[in-house]
Symmetry: C2
Subunit: 286 residues, 2 copies
């Protein structure tokens, strides 16, 4: 079967209905397009577990905060088709903004899906106020439109992954969420559509983000478990041109802060290199 691109909700509903009738299982990979090897690993995972692989390509305005890069976010659908096809994708769902939010005057006119405050007042949620409301709302919409059996999310957006899993559990959404590992360049840099914004010198600075996480992991391996010490390890390794937004240590099961490393701690970072905001994380497994 060859790849099809669908723009209309009614049209994809019809196609999905037909597949469901045939008893086929469906996996969804929600994306904002500008697909890279990280997305490819998600799509390949989806393809390996379900009969039909659907990806959505939609730059979702309601998850961008004022002043963020909504307008300049890269839109590369033609290139995305090639990547998707090579990963075994059957359907790209690429709706317009008006198809997803018809006649929307302002975001506050919408019914929203909102994660618990305590879990968004940390890490990315703290600086990107309302971001995860926008993410959960669009993901709920996509789930309701595509009705997948599985949905694949990357561990690079680790707070997003945690919140989506909590949403699925809290709202009894009939979909199984599949965690997919973060993918790095050989240099260590976590893959991101926003890496496109980086100049060559900025990329060199950006590399110190993953370098500082690896250093933290090494320090932890030799016995340093106090997070304040590990914070210093990060600062020592981070380029002076990298502006740290946060370095946080949270428990993988609860996403609550932890002062000392225990069973499973996630060490997550957000930082700016020039105008580009990047995130990365590492799991400090005992």
């Amino acid at each position: 079967m060859s790849l099809v691109v669908i723009n209309k909700i009614d049209e994809i509903r019809e196609i999905i209905k037909e597949y469901k009738k045939q008893g086929k299982s469906i996996a969804l990979v929600p994306t904002m397009g500008c697909l890279h090897e990280g997305h490819k690993s998600l799509m390949e995972k989806a393809h390996s577990i379900a009969d039909i692989t659907v990806i959505s390509v939609f730059v979702n305005p309601i998850q961008f905060c004022p002043g963020e890069d909504y307008d300049r976010y890269p839109r590369t659908l033609e290139q995305d088709k090639i990547v998707a096809e090579s990963a075994g994708v059957d359907i790209i769902f690429a709706p317009s903004v008006n198809e997803m939010y018809p006649n929307l005057q302002k975001f506050s006119d919408l019914t929203m899906v909102v994660p618990p405050y305590e879990l968004t007042d940390i890490m990315c949620g703290k600086s990107r106020v309302g971001h995860f409301d926008g993410v959960e709302t669009v993901v709920t919409k996509l789930f309701n439109i595509v009705q997948p059996d599985f949905a694949c999310f990357g561990m690079k957006d680790i707070q997003q992954l945690f919140l989506i899993k909590k949403m699925v559990k809290d709202l009894n959404i009939p979909v199984e969420i599949i965690d997919c590992p973060l993918v790095r360049e050989e240099s260590g840099l976590a893959l991101s559509s926003r890496n496109k914004y980086l100049s060559e010198t900025e990329k060199t600075d950006a590399l110190t983000i993953s370098k500082s996480l690896f250093a933290i992991k090494e320090s932890f391996k030799i016995g340093i478990k106090y997070t304040k010490k590990l914070f210093d390890v990060c600062l020592t390794n981070l380029s002076k041109n990298v502006e740290l937004e946060y370095l946080e240590f949270v428990d993988a099961d609860t996403f609550k802060h932890t002062d000392t490393i225990n069973s499973k701690t996630i060490c997550a970072i957000a930082a700016r290199v020039g105008n580009v905001r990047l995130i990365d994380n590492i799991i400090l497994e005992v």
Copy 2:
């Protein structure tokens, strides 16, 4: 087929899955139990449009505000079974609080579905802060558990009906919402589970609520279209023992306030008789 009562989410999911396989359509009537003729009309409607009628009976704690009647809300499952069976219901889904909200410490730990602020800062939403967040969240959960083709809601809870329809549209929920008319006693009193709380004298006072709405409709029919005038008509008819919470005139299509009656205006009232909060409404069709 005779009525079954199911308490577990996994169990009802299995049953529904089997019906879906057989190509049967499903209608859901979400209730908090204490079923009366109003509910019966919803269940009969559901029974008339779908192969399988499911009702939920669940007194949803997260839609009650502090100080409201959650604890004393009537729970009458044995009686409800008789009413449901007589209305052609196939399945009662009656989960425990822990089944719906496992190990919940506090409401703010939950992912919530939240209607737009502008539509909840009026009428019942204004005094019952957070009420509609609780309603939309539990209805979303029930939709995800039962996956009905249709869901029937009564027009007595007119703001709830409007918000649920908006939610379904905004979140692309694959269910068709069926409006069902408000049902009244012969006396005019709108049927409500909370009528059970009323003493005989309170019931006499309560009757002036519907009486005042009918008077407004009569005044409108003879040409009074200015809502301030119609407000006075209400006050003239309302018993002195009835404490008015609100009388609001909103447009049926937008739920925005209207100063003069136009195409379709809803006139909605909430009032207290003793400790009992009652609501009612009437549509002033041109």
